[in-house]
Amino acid sequence: MILDHLPALQVVVPLLAAPLIVLLRSGRLGWLIATAVSWTGLVIAVLLFLRVQDAGTISYAMGSWAPPWGIEYRVDALSSYVLVLVSLLAAVVLPYARLSIAAEVPSDRHYLLYAMFALCLCGLLGITITGDAFNVFVFLEISSLSGYVLIALGRDRRALRSAFQYLIMGTIGATFYVIGVGLLYLMTGTLNLADMATRLGAVQEVRPVLAALAFITVGLSLKIALFPLHIWLPGAYAYAPSAVSAFMAGTVTKVSVYVLLRFMFGIFGVRLVLPGLPLLEILTLLSAVAMVVASLVALLERDLKRLLAYSSVAQIGYITLGLGLGNVDGMTASVVHLFNHGVTKTALFMLVGGIVLRTGSCQLDALAGLARRMPVTCFGVVLAGLSLIGVPGTAGFITKWHLVLSALQAGQWWIVVVIAASSLLAAAYVWRFVEIAYLRAAPTGAASREEAPLQLLVPAWLLVAACIYFGFDTSFSLAGARDAAVMLLEGMR
């Protein structure tokens, strides 16, 4: 019985947890409830994934109102994949969060943070699982608003400014999305995603449809932090509490990419190749610029978290590049990088959180000789960094392989050059950390061996191990991505 309502439970459980945590007003209980909720969410997501593998797409009518009039929750190859990613990252970050948040946020605000965390998780899961276009907006704003609060709880006052900037840009993005959905509703008469896909083929007037596509793409690009709409990201990730950066870096932009994939390929599909709107080419070009420029800026950064943030912008470029190339390998690369980068970046931010906990700083200059004091953490950063570079034996390599393959198949040699350049730049900025941590002497008076506490190391290393593991055993990550890619591209036929 309960198994039938898993799609609803995936969203409802964290949704109910949030006000519960607020009512209980206890930081410790709040953390316990949030962690329990995230683990429950992971179990549900895995169960859903397995069911989709066996039985195909699950369609769940919310409140038993039949679609397309009622809101439908639709779990298919792509959404189940993203559900597992988001819930996995939440489940790993929350145990880590207790000590990290305790060090960075005043204790009277802890319960509020965990309540917002649960709400953000609910929003992200909701975006992924829902099959209704306006419902996506609602959950998008739920996750975004709670995200703004989470970021603003950072101890540096620049977190407030960053949260405000993110609020402005994020709201504009969401509103653009709503405009696009409105235009689509006017043209098709439905808000159900699957229904929209079928009805769109019959629409005669092209211009409103193109306008809708443009609005939705730009709006989501703001949420995805696609260059040049990425301005909010460095500040938001750098000044938020470390656990929040860790979670949001791995999920928020990825889920927005998911929505873009749904709309571009699932719904618009055929219309993408209409002349007058070279959307894929623009996307490819912007991605290429993002990959190179953001990596260059990362190279010049002195703050480790800002470096990782710009690295994220570049890696998001990888994802949208695969999208822009439009063939099966490109889409596979995009989807698998949602997973691979999510795991890698969250691992990195968690490790940096440990560094902040022990040394009080994440400025590169202050981290000289860190490898003596925190060897396990630094080695973790090296391994995860190798995944960013795309060295074989790491998850990032799998993505790169498919991106290069996709570019070669599309005959776009310049993109291969761009990918190579971006990898080398990634090697350069990862190696800045390696040199400073390993090859420089620690400043006099620095503490001797003082590794991050186990409660921080274990979840972080779990993900670092995942980076390496998914570079070898790709049966889940790659196969799931390929299924999703094939399913999306079939919408093109």
Binding site: F134, F137, V138, E141, L145, Y148, V149, A152, D156, R157, R158, L160, R161, A163, F164, L167, I168, T171, I172, A174, T175, V178, I179, G182, Y185, L186, L191, Y239, D303, T359, G360, S361, C362, Q363, D365, A366
Partner: protein, 128 residues
């Protein structure tokens, strides 16, 4: 150029552009939020205006009428208004906190204060 017939769309565009302009061009944080609100209002108009069909009556089923106005956009916009209110509230709360921390709500001034602080911190190597 059907000015009168498409009046609602023209207003939508005007509000949208005006709102966006205020967000971008004004450095006062509260004004930005106001601009954001105006921008969001344009979207409400975009949804609701087409909902009213010519010759359509209130959406209550009755044998006398064949054409009903569409109630769905109203429902959607109620939701969107709620989201807008939440956003505005959060934005204002952030402005209050920013004012507590920085003493100003002008974006330019805040940026300057941050740059100044970063320069000072860089000199004595304080953690961020």
């Amino acid at each position: 150029m059907n000015l009168v017939g498409h009046y609602s769309y023209w207003m939508t565009i005007l509000l949208m552009v005006a709102g966006l302009y205020i967000v971008v061009a004004r450095s006062n944080l509260i004004k930005k939020l106001i601009g954001l609100g105006i921008f969001q209002t344009s979207v409400y108009l975009l949804y609701i205006a087409p909902g009213k069909l010519i010759g359509g009556t209130a959406p209550i089923v009755s044998e006398q009428f064949a054409v009903y106005s569409n109630p769905l956009p109203h429902v959607l916009i109620l939701t969107a208004i709620v989201v807008g209110v939440a956003t505005l509230a959060l934005g204002l709360a952030l402005v209050v906190r920013i004012h507590e921390e920085y003493g100003s709500i002008e974006e330019d001034a805040i940026l300057e204060i941050d740059q100044h602080t970063a320069a000072v911190q860089g000199q004595d190597g304080q953690p961020s």
